[in-house]
Amino acid sequence: MQPLRIALAQIGPRLGAFDDNLARHHDLLRDARAAGAGLVVFPELGLTGYLLQDLAAEVAIRLDDPRLAELAAGTDGLSAVVSFVEESADHRLFIAAALLEDGEVRHVHRKLFLPTYGLFDERRFFAAGDVLRAAPSRLGVGVGLSVCEDFWHLAVPQLLALDGAQVLVNISASPGRDLAATNEVGLGTASSWRLLMRTYAQLTTSFVVFCNRVGVDESITFWGGSEVIDPSGRPVFSAPLFEEGLFTVDVALEDLRRERVALPLLRDERLELEARELGRIIAERAGMAADTTAASGAAPGLDVAPPEPYESPAADAPARTAGPVRAAEPIRLRARRR
């Protein structure tokens, strides 16, 4: 069996410039084909840039957009994963990843988990997808698509693998942050991602293909570091951090069989157990069933009781911050300039 050559298009899209990014995709698809790639992966929102805010509606395309069909037309004998803002018929905007194969749009995954915390504000601008499906592929193995934050939820890689995916593709626009010198590669984000991806590859005995963008949108620098990890959790390839490029790596799909025979974790998964316990937890959280695992005193739907009964502070009790904590010497720290 010939190795599968995967091309990771670790690019820095131009924010809001759909046509420029589209032209870049066409060029890179051509380059990847010339390099003998069988699977080409572009990052999250590679066709539009990430930090779109109100631009999202202006760069959104429908799935029947001729520009998407044109891009798909370039995938004869090739698989490609591309990403854009999809506007549905009912005018919801999704962050979409599409699997293009043999000239067609074979599968579309709509980002399920939209981070809206910390530096993220995705739920404000986008709708969350509702469907998670593995897709059959011309590669001869099932492909599971996910977008960035989707991979920070354990169920996603597991469901994709159970649904038949043997290659888990995650496309990301991950902002680099936390430069603490104690990190593995000087970047906390990279350390966290690598840990979870290697764990998923091992636990699902699947290939993990990660394509993360580079470049800058506003304050944010995306860190790249795209990876391919084999079904034993071993990184086969790690792209450089922050550098733009089309990186190719060969993988042996037979490794899937070897690993799954030697380590039949997927065979041993207990779906009925998960479904049963999930059913119970869902009913309990909704307050529709007595919670058998909650601490006594917990409100319906909450597993945890308050740590101790709340007592209002007595009126004559000393305030917590008053008293002896006052410094003996005045501290002169103050800002002088206005």
Binding site: R14, L15, G16, A17, L51, L52, Q53, D54, L55, G176, L179, A180, A181, T182, N183, V185, G186, L187, V214, G215, V216, D217, E218, T221, L241, F242, T321, V325, R326, A327, I331, R332, L333, R334, A335, R336, R337, R338
Partner: protein
């Protein structure tokens, strides 16, 4: 682990609290890409910065030179007549070391034209002859800002900010003065981290070692004026802001409670300096509220 260079007497050049140490190689790569990205998106190729001779603007000068080359950097030296000659000498040493472009603009006539000088009243009238140090310092900072933005036009470069995270969080900055800029490459680095990065990138040792000062009057120093040491202040801010520790938890770690409370108060009272001013919400779409676009988008770059 991060290492701190030694001075001639074999002592560490500065104190770097362990939790604040960063990977300086990664920081330089991120900042270089950030600077180039900001310029590209705005349609510029050059930068202008106010170079004081202090460590913050020195570090930014080295970072900009590393990102786009020294020929594309204009360092503007803007002393006032009471500014320390040592500051100017340090600024000139930085310009020489980087081989960047530079201009010297004495802001004394501009500032004196407003406040007056000796017993000759200026535009602000006789009362202003006795203007406080705060008023004078603020006008100097805003005059330098005005000059930097003028040079932005003549040189065709974006004004780069040089404020660090420590001074921004406690509000030790003049709004629309030294904090005015097109973008800021070091605004998320504490002073201790500025020192660490400055040492890594090759800022002259005397600039790293000297006491930080706004140099708005003779012998002023930040730490003397504020009554704090930067490493201590940086640690409090880091645990409070970045690591979300409560006042109680910080006190439990051994920080003096009165100092934590003081720092909290400084952060709260200076919140306005870190934000865009609010606009009264009247229409259907309001900038910054529900009209939200990236600062730079297709069509926004200078042609």
């Amino acid at each position: 682990m991060a290492t701190v260079p030694l001075d001639d007497a074999g002592r560490p050049l500065f104190e770097l609290p362990a939790e604040l140490a960063i990977d300086t190689d990664v920081a330089r790569r991120v900042i270089s890409g950030f600077i180039r990205g900001q310029l590209r998106q705005a349609g510029f190729e050059r930068c202008v910065l106010a170079l004081s001779g202090g460590i913050d603007s020195a570090l930014v000068a080295y970072l900009v030179a590393e990102a786009i080359g020294p020929a594309n950097l204009l360092a503007v030296l803007m002393p006032y007549r009471t500014s320390s000659p040592a500051s100017r000498a340090d600024a000139e040493a930085i310009v020489a070391d980087l081989a960047c472009q530079s201009e010297l603009i004495d802001i004394s006539p501009m500032v004196d034209a407003y406040f007056g000088r000796e017993d000759l009243a200026g535009a602000a009238g006789p009362e202003a002859l006795a203007a406080s140090a705060i008023r004078r310092g603020n006008l100097m900072a805003r005059t330098r800002m005005a000059v930097a933005y003028d040079r932005s036009v003549t040189f065709g470069g974006l004004v780069v900010g040089t404020g660090n995270k420590t001074e921004s969080l406690i509000g030790y900055t003049t709004i629309y003065g030294d904090n005015a800029c097109a973008f800021n490459p070091i605004g998320d680095l504490y002073k201790s981290q500025v020192r660490q990065l400055a040492a890594a990138i090759g800022v002259p040792r005397q600039v790293i070692a000297k006491a930080p000062s706004a140099d708005l009057w003779p012998d002023q120093t930040d730490e003397g004026e504020g009554g704090f040491s930067y490493p201590l202040l940086d640690r409090i801010l880091y645990w409070r802001v970045d690591r979300r520790r409560s006042l109680e938890e910080l006190a439990g770690m051994g920080f003096e409670r009165a100092l934590i409370e003081r720092v909290d108060r400084l952060m709260a009272t200076s919140e306005f300096k870190r934000q865009v001013p609010p606009i009264a919400k009247l229409g259907p779409r309001t900038a910054g509220v529900d009209y939200l676009y990236p600062r730079r988008r297709p069509g926004s770059a200078r042609a």
